[in-house]
Symmetry: C2
Subunit: 353 residues, 2 copies
Amino acid sequence: MQSKPSIKDIAKRANVSIGTVDRVLHNRGQVSEATREKVQKVIEELNYEPNIIARSLASKQDFNIGILLPRSSSKNDYWYYPAVGIQKAAAEHQYVGLNLVEAYYDLNLVESFQDKISLLSEKDLDGVITAPIYKNELEDYINQLENSNIKYSLLDSDLEDSQRSFFVGQDPVQSGRVAAQLIDFTLQKDSPDILTLHFNPVTQGIPTINLREDGFSEYFNHADTEVKVSSHLILYTSKEELNSKLDQIFTDVQNLKAIFVPDSKSYLVAEYLENKTAKDVVLAGFDLLEENATYLRKGVIDFIINQQPITQGYQALNQLINSLIQKKEKIPSQNIPIDIITSENIKYYDGLD
Amino acid sequence: MQSKPSIKDIAKRANVSIGTVDRVLHNRGQVSEATREKVQKVIEELNYEPNIIARSLASKQDFNIGILLPRSSSKNDYWYYPAVGIQKAAAEHQYVGLNLVEAYYDLNLVESFQDKISLLSEKDLDGVITAPIYKNELEDYINQLENSNIKYSLLDSDLEDSQRSFFVGQDPVQSGRVAAQLIDFTLQKDSPDILTLHFNPVTQGIPTINLREDGFSEYFNHADTEVKVSSHLILYTSKEELNSKLDQIFTDVQNLKAIFVPDSKSYLVAEYLENKTAKDVVLAGFDLLEENATYLRKGVIDFIINQQPITQGYQALNQLINSLIQKKEKIPSQNIPIDIITSENIKYYDGLD
DNA sequence: TCAAGCTCCGTTAACGTACACGAATGTATG
DNA sequence: CATACATTCGTGTACGTTAACGGAGCTTGA
């Protein structure tokens, strides 16, 4: 019952000191090619793996990690949750000497985003966690990071051609298909109308929302059911404007059976529906924000697709630290499951994530 | 920027040696009441928390943990999965000196269960993970464990009056309600028939299955929809017998719209339905076993409720170790979310858990 | 030829905790 | 009063790793 070999074992086997073994392990030079090979061979023979416990005890290194995400103080805002997960992961790694440089910007102001970027640029960072929301503005910074060999991970949505070391997020097309399937389960064969309503200003150009809609349409194109799907972007500055726009849209459809909200604002539609007592319309949306959860419990919203935002934040920081610390689990990305939440199973998701 | 206080800091502040601090921390005696109080006060002042990294490095302790669960080598068996999670957790704790005493018994033989119990009784264990399947036979062993102050955690289903240190599992009543709700979404107002079919011999008396059925009925008792639910326990020794019993049941119902399988054997019904080409019946079951997954992808099974069996095993061992190691997260139980799986979202659950 | 500068490598002190050992007291017993 | 013994406490080593330090041996150039 021999336990795992330590660098001491390797040193003994290779007739060198532990210092030499350490230099070989970390490619720190100062070792002749001959002994390097000798030691390397023993390392492979004994199948040595470093004891990460001892490593983090001994290591004097500390890491500065920048967090470049939208600011949020409300549980009714999606970006509140990834931050929670990041804090959780940070707490678990308190012994590796972790230093978060938190740069939370205003989602509605590009200037705020740019300010935070220049703030982070000044710092000497080892890693960055961000999300590709302002794609163009982010691109320059990402190039900068790549030139300085600073690792960064992406949340929520991916950048195909980037060198990001890790991505956590949900497959948006597939999540749209799931929403479609759930609605499809409830439909009858009377050529129903379906509305797709979203509320995110196009200027932000978040591709996730569009991809969800793509998945949604794609599903019904190949489904048996014959449905009419019409899509509307609703921009408003007051409750009155919102209501009148919705009124307009609702009078235009004949046989409305379901509404799909591909962004996280389904509570807006729920609020409207609740007043109209149009309860027989199926409503499906995204994200377990506080108001969404309320309407889900009431039965106004029927389905919410959750993307485990807390877990996303948690994983992003976790993986970044692991790769910095060489504990590398080398998984390049993680697809978050497409959780289906109803009034009956919300109890064990809410908050728990 | 002061970092967390160590026992050295405490020793200095209290004018004692680190040895004394250590004795106070572990109630190891050999300390006069006066200095004990003095040290204790400093500990609380500085809000000292032990460095678990250093602890597990220094600790020579090793733990023997018994695993008393049904044996399984097939991915088509529920109990295959918790074992995977246990192995995963064990791998992560390789540095605390973990020694698993694995006692996997034959689910169909009480004798096998009893054999394994007597096997474990001989060992000097620090903890046990098991599941209350053979309740009566387990009771004696549990008493024995409690008398010897050996911690144990329960998987899958709880024992109310026990001293278990931890429970991981799903709320079975609520999961039955979720299945009912999903089926309800698909129903129309034509007073449909619903079948509940289960295949577990009563002799094993697993309460989980019955509680799921309770939840299922409860939902429809309070729902708007008027449905007729009839329940059948199907015992069979050959495929022919199974088919003829199902034939019998199916001819007896008028307006069959949905089938609920509260155990993990929904693939049996799916197989039957596939041959009968009775595709318009909604089928809902439990557990993402390999065959269930296959029929879910094909669209024969419509809904599977997953109970994250891998996570269950993982958490059970994790929490047990933490409580043994004094890292105690003192959460007495963990309710696993009631995951709803369809053909469209299975992709990111399967295997991943 | 010898100091200066390499390269290569061994030694050593941390990191924070656990625990054995033994020294310094105090107390009881003859 | 000497001895035995118990109580209380400090010291030292270990866990596996990191990384600074410095020594030995070699090469180089004046």
